[in-house]
């Protein structure tokens, strides 16, 4: 095994929620959190966010507004939420394109019309592709099963990889997304550098993550809900209080909007901006490789 030979910064101190641990310990603990929750991940998301996480993810993909032919890498994509939405989106854009094409050409022959239908049937995604990359085997397994269950197969592939050390070549992807994943990365700066590397020039970085609420009243209500309700839900639904305690603490530890924006700019991205959702409970950060 290559572990010892690589001289990882195993000894550097970092945090796991509110605990102080080494980087290696943190990686291990976070891996175990997701290993434990993988089966119940989607159910937990629905119960804890009262289904609102679906809206956040819809907004992310709408903001992306991908056209057919887009190559997306969804990092920390686990159970496939963003990937499936991407596929649905480009499929409907493609269908609309084909319909528009037929409507605009008044004098088509029957052969041309049937050729257009054939085109639609054989290439429903218009060559769009999404690669889901996650560090956790259980999450990917769950994602792959979900994909089979829901009927997604074309244009979709799965890779076990580390966001800090992506197994992809430079300048490959049109869009890089990381939804509710960057919080769990130990070296966020490395993940951002890798994101920059694998994007094509002109490519877009999109990050959907829990952020900071500035409104004091809302902030108190949010804290109350987070610390009193969420771990309890975790125990009742998934039999796992600690993982959800970690979740809540990790959100508090994560840099606020402006700080994350600066980190993204440090990685080389330009036109970096963020959009708060639900008063900052969640934020979408966007940047371009120009």
């Amino acid at each position: 095994m290559l572990g010892p030979a690589r001289g990882l910064a195993a000894g550097t101190q970092t945090h796991f929620g509110f605990q102080s641990v080494t980087e290696a310990e943190r990686r291990e603990k976070i891996y175990q959190v997701f290993e434990n929750v993988a089966e119940k991940y989607d159910v937990m998301n629905d119960s804890m966010s009262l289904g609102i996480h679906r809206v956040w993810k819809d907004i992310l993909v709408h903001k992306m507004n991908p056209s057919p032919g887009t190559l997306l890498v969804d990092v920390a994509g686990g159970t496939g939420d963003i990937a499936f939405r991407f596929i649905n989106y480009v499929r409907s854009v493609r269908e609309r394109q084909l319909r528009q094409k037929l409507r605009n050409h008044q004098n088509l022959s029957w052969q041309e019309i049937s050729k257009s239908y054939e085109e639609g049937r054989s290439n429903p995604l218009g060559d769009s592709q999404v690669v889901v990359c996650d560090i956790n085997k259980e999450m990917l397994k769950a994602g792959k099963q979900r994909a089979q269950h829901l009927g997604y197969s074309e244009g979709l592939s799965w890779v076990l990889g580390n966001a800090e050390e992506l197994p992809f070549d430079d300048n490959k992807f049109d869009v890089y997304t990381i939804a509710f994943g960057i919080r769990n990365v130990t070296r966020i700066d490395l993940a951002l550098q890798e994101a920059y590397r694998v994007l094509k020039p002109g490519g877009r970085f999109l990050c959907l993550e829990f952020s900071h609420v500035s409104n004091p009243l809302l902030s108190r209500l949010y804290d109350l809900y987070s610390f009193q309700v969420i771990p309890v839900l975790g125990e009742v639904i998934a039999g796992d209080w600690k993982s959800y305690q970690y979740l809540v603490e990790s959100i508090r530890r994560f840099p606020p909007q402006e700080e994350l924006k600066a980190m993204i700019e440090d990685a080389g991205f330009l036109k970096v901006d963020y959009q708060n959702l639900n008063s900052g409970i969640v934020a979408i950060h966007s940047g371009f490789k120009l």
Binding site: P124, K141, Q148, V159, L160, N162, P167, F168, K172
Partner: protein, 102 residues
């Protein structure tokens, strides 16, 4: 080994039943099924479209896909990344050193 292939084929068929029924998807699933039945005992093979993206996470250099062992091999560094259930494991710690091979 055969049981694994059978299970894999069953999953593909289940997927086909639940699919959105476009001709393209059905064709691809049939192809996958064929690959499984012909393929090696080392689990499901790699999705071919992935090969255009994948490189070694350590050196960022191209990899060679070895069908017989279902691994992605970096000749320069002498390491091999396994493909498990069609998912390539590109975590460096999991890679096998090919130099140890007899």
């Amino acid at each position: 080994m055969l049981r694994g292939c059978g299970r894999g084929a069953a999953v593909v068929l289940r997927g086909a039943a639940g699919s959105r029924g476009t001709a393209g998807q059905r064709q691809q699933q049939q192809q996958q099924q064929q690959q499984q039945q012909q393929g090696p005992g080392a689990g499901r093979p790699l999705e071919p479209s992935l090969l255009q993206f994948l490189v070694c996470p350590l050196s960022k250099r191209p990899l060679r896909y070895e069908e017989s062992t279902n691994e992605l091999i970096n000749e320069e560094l002498g390491i091999a990344y396994p493909v498990i259930d069609g998912i390539p494991n590109m975590i460096p710690e999991a890679a096998r050193s090919t130099k140890k091979r007899p």
